[in-house]
């Protein structure tokens, strides 16, 4: 089945092409468009499942060897690059050679000689290196890409089904699903490509689709701005990523993962503060990851991206695209683990982002904004995990986060749908009664993200915090742990707040209409205008509502509404605000239910090592356990090799194991001493490894509980407390509410300054450059006037005279030649032919007569 994985990205592309190219022309029905889109993704999902099964568990399972399609028929030499000179990382290449030669010499010695620790002299010349760069278009199936394939197609399928319900009635239905299919294609190329350039293609592709989908309601200024912001912010990251790819090709002469990592794994490790080639490459890669995964300096686009339709937020800005940065960092973990500096940077940026976004999430009122900041915060957690060396756990969190965050976004979509495009949580409340399915699925997501014990979020988040506390990869692990713990408390708090404001408590939706809602219809109503789409009836892609028409779910009976809730219509006069919310159709809550089940049980593939008394092993379940499954793609700094398939090496070695290894095998500690280590200190106090792990688990459960209890206190039991504390902590509240003024800061320092530069350049262009050009034009105009006069009177006069003279003279002659009789012309032709023959055969004739 692995052979057919090239179909996985192709099918959504075909679906997107059919929908996008023909959907409008042939006026496809919504059912047909939805069927094509959902069908293509469902087929992809089935193929992915079959391929992953046969790869990992089938009779001829190739796990954990990466399976590249080009080894099995499907290959396409995409960029025949030719000879490239490897002119970067020369020092490292030489170091690798020295190491190899030293080992050879040591092996040749007798044990006695070796025991004397002789000095070995090795000369290595700096030789020019070349490689044949051939970049192929082939897909790679390995533990990492298989997980992403399943997440992207599986969660994507749920979201596609949801979108058929959510987008019902939009005239741009075909366009939406064309973009979504295109996104699936790009995302799958990103995660399935077998080299960095394919990843880059997918990377840019998802960026484009993100841009298109954020700007889906392109006639709204806010959405258009948000889409541009996302695109431009991502350019910054892509710049770094592109540089890193150049660096990789310049240092390794190849872009194929397998080849690059094979070479990179024997490179020397660059300790803190040492900037070798791999650190620079890792920096570039991480800048790219920051852009795509919305990490601290470049996070500004993600909250604004919520201007897109909610399924887009769920698919692209929560479950899949924003985790591309994690995919990339984990994919290149060899490179990152070679650079302790960059590991520290990743961890600190991740921790900073986690706490930063979590504190913003506390004060936001827009339900989607809260979820957006929550996503940024969770992404920070994942980078934290990467930074402390627990790449597998990061991917585990990507997976659980994809489940519960997609669930929550879709739940929010369902709420928004049910509330008639109301997004402000201050106008919700008490929805539990009206939307039971949405409520209970959201409830599962809430428990998962808070980290309550059997739910999926607990397993991954707890492992991240444990790894942060016990890391031997970087110094300052305890700070990362502390920040992560506080961020986890904030997460539990703002999620409880979200639940309380949305589903529990007083019903506030009857109070008034409007609000600062984000969705298309509502915002136009806010301004007292016609619906956005009615303003330009000629534009083909808009929902065809008339001004004043009932804008709501089509399945709803308008007349019934007017009868039962007539009072709402009397003052509002339009279809918004004072509706009683309603449960969403099955096409929307069934995906919710599926995701809820995943959010509940999804964590069991990653039960932590602390549960070994219960489960019997550190990573129970064999290959089904995510750590065992992913381990072979993780490079081990101790052995300087990739982990073996069934090795079960715990990602960050604890100090005990570490010293054991160092003592036993004379392996030098890869990252030297990393200073104070929280977990080891606790371990030294308890002298029990298991107890230490349990202490951290209990701490993380306590903070989750604290967050939830605080949420209950502030928003359920004593709702007035929230306002009081907001007053008391006014500066902090303002900072959080205004998102720490980052947007304003960027606006002031970057956007405005860029505009100033642009204005300056424009002035230069319009004054100086244009002035020169215009002056020259004026000059040539004057000149041309002179030249024109000369031409008109002198030259033309001369020409006319001569021409007239010649015409008078010659015309009778030529006129006489034109008799008009056909035969005259024919005769001339024949004569001409004869002359031609004579000329052509002149030499033959002369010889013949000469003879």
């Amino acid at each position: 089945m692995q052979k057919y994985i090239w179909l996985v990205p192709l099918l959504p592309l075909i679906g997107a092409a059919i929908n996008g190219l023909l959907g409008r022309k042939l006026r496809f029905s919504e059912r047909l468009i939805g069927g094509i889109a959902v069908g293509s993704v469902a087929l992809s999902f089935l193929i992915s499942v079959a391929a992953v099964y046969s790869y990992g568990f089938g009779g001829h399972a190739e796990w954990p060897k990466p399976y590249v399609t080009s080894q099995d028929g499907f290959s396409f030499n995409w960029i025949p690059g030719g000879m490239v000179s490897i002119n970067q990382g020369i020092q490292e290449h030489m170091a690798v050679e020295v190491h190899k030669k030293a080992e050879e010499q040591l092996a040749a010695m007798t044990p006695e000689e070796r025991a004397q620790r002789p000095a070995i002299l090795i000369g290595v010349a700096e030789t020019p290196r070349f490689a044949l760069l051939n970049i192929e278009w082939s897909y790679q199936l390995d533990p990492l890409s298989s997980i992403f394939m399943l997440i992207v197609t599986g969660v994507g399928l749920c979201i596609f089904v949801f979108a058929t319900g959510y987008m019902h009635g939009e005239a741009g239905f075909y366009r939406f699903f064309a973009y979504m299919g295109l996104f699936m294609f790009a995302m799958l190329v990103l995660v399935m490509g077998s080299n960095f350039l394919m990843m880059f293609v997918g990377w840019e592709g998802v960026g484009l689709c993100s841009y298109l989908l954020i700007g889906y309601y392109f006639d709204r200024q806010e959405a258009a701005n948000a889409s541009r912001k996302a695109f431009i912010t991502n350019r910054v990251g892509d710049f770094g990523f592109a540089l890193a790819i150049f660096g990789i090709i310049a240092a390794f002469g190849s872009a194929q993962y397998t080849e690059v990592f094979e070479q990179a794994k024997s490179f020397p490790i660059e300790l803190l503060g040492h900037w070798g080639i791999l650190s620079w490459i890792a920096l570039g890669l991480f800048v790219g990851a920051c852009g795509k995964s919305a990490q601290l300096p470049l996070h500004v686009w993600l909250p604004d991206a919520m201007a897109g339709p909610t399924p887009v937020s769920a698919l692209i800005h929560a479950a899949t695209m924003v985790t591309a940065g994690l995919y990339m960092v984990t994919r290149t973990n060899v490179i990152f683990q070679h650079s302790q500096t960059m590991l520290l940077v990743v961890a600190l940026v991740g921790a900073a982002t986690a706490i930063f976004a979590a504190t913003i999430g506390i004060t936001q009122n827009d339900i989607k904004k809260v979820l957006a900041y929550s996503t940024v915060s969770q992404l920070g957690f994942m980078f934290m995990a990467c930074g402390v060396g627990a790449f597998v756990i990061a991917i585990f969190h990507v997976m659980t986060h994809a489940f519960f965050k997609a669930l929550m976004f879709l739940g929010a979509g369902s709420v928004i749908h049910g509330m008639h495009h109301e997004q402000d949580m201050r106008r919700m409340g008490g929805l539990k009664k009206y939307m039971p399915y949405t409520y209970w699925t959201f409830f599962a997501g809430w428990l998962a993200i808070c980290g309550i014990i059997p739910f999926s979020g607990f397993w991954s988040k707890d492992e991240i915090l444990w790894n942060a506390a016990s890391t031997t990869y970087i110094p300052l692990g305890w700070i990362v742990w502390l920040v992560g713990t506080i961020a986890a408390t904030c997460t539990a708090f703002y999620m409880t707040r979200l639940m309380a404001m949305t589903f529990w408590g007083k019903e506030r939706f009857l109070a008034g209409a409007g609000g600062e809602a984000d969705e298309a219809h509502a915002s136009a109503y806010d301004k007292g205008l016609a619906p956005h789409d009615a303003a330009l009836p000629s534009a083909g892609d808009r929902p065809r509502h008339e001004p004043g028409e009932h804008v709501g779910p089509v399945h709803e009976d308008v007349a019934h509404h007017v009868v039962t809730h007539g009072h709402a219509h009397e003052d509002g006069g339009h279809g918004h605000g004072a509706h009683v919310p309603h449960e969403s159709p099955p096409s929307m809550w069934v995906p919710l239910a599926v995701l809820a089940v995943l959010a509940v049980i999804g964590g069991f593939v990653g039960i932590g090592p602390a549960f070994r008394p219960v489960t019997g092993s550190e990573h129970p379940g064999g290959r089904l356990h995510i750590v065992n499954w992913l381990n072979p793609i993780i490079w081990n700094p101790l052995t300087r090799e990739f982990n073996t398939a069934e090795g079960g090496h715990e990602a960050p070695a604890t100090e005990a194991e570490h010293t054991e290894l160092v003592a036993g095998e004379f392996v030098q500690a890869p990252y030297r001493d990393t200073g104070f280590n929280l977990a080891h200190s606790v371990n030294n106090a308890t002298h029990n490894h298991l107890a230490t792990e349990w202490i951290f688990i209990i701490i993380s459960l306590i903070v989750a509980g604290t967050g939830i209890l605080l949420g209950f206190l502030f928003y359920v039991w004593r709702p007035q407390l929230a306002g009081i504390w907001a007053q008391r902590l006014r500066p902090l509240y303002n900072a959080s509410y205004n998102k720490y003024w980052v947007d304003e800061l960027y606006g002031l320092t970057i956007t405005r300054r860029t505009m100033d530069v642009a204005r300056g350049v424009f002035a230069f262009d319009s004054k100086l450059v244009d002035g020169i050009v215009n002056g020259l034009a004026w000059l040539s105009r004057q000149l041309s006037r002179i030249v024109g006069g000369v031409d008109k009177y002198l030259v033309d006069g001369l020409v006319n005279t001569v021409a007239a003279f010649i015409m008078r003279l010659m015309s009778p002659l030529f006129r006489a030649a034109q008799t008009g009789f056909t035969q005259n012309y024919a005769l001339v032709m024949v004569l001409g032919l004869m002359v031609a023959v004579v000329i052509f055969f002149a030499r033959d004739i002369i010889t013949a007569f000469g003879k």
Binding site: T819, F821, T822, Y825, L827, F841, I845, F849
Partner: protein, 135 residues
Amino acid sequence: MLNFFNPIVTLLLQEGLRARFDLMRYAAANPDLSKFLVIGALLFIIGVAGVLTRRNIIVIFMSIELILNAANLNFIAFSRYLHEMGSVNAAAGQIFTVFVIVVAAAEAAIGLGIVIALYRNKETIWVDEIDLLKW
């Protein structure tokens, strides 16, 4: 050039039937391109002469047919010759001949149509009374 005309001279100067029969037998045994080319050239010359001298447009058409047939004859002759010489693609000449016949038929149809239109306008088909090409 003289070599080219040699077969004609030979043919014209043959004396007696016997010699002529010998020649024919020889020709049957050894396909000789030159005779066909001579016939073709004669046809061509006759055609050209007809086109240039006759006043009746119908006859001019007939002369054109002669010219075309001269070309056809050459095609066939070369085709046969090349076939004898062992060329595998000798059928091309025959195909061209068929083409020429088809084109000639089409041309005749159009030409006669033009003639009829001309006659209706000018009441004549004598070309020396038609000098419309002047304008």
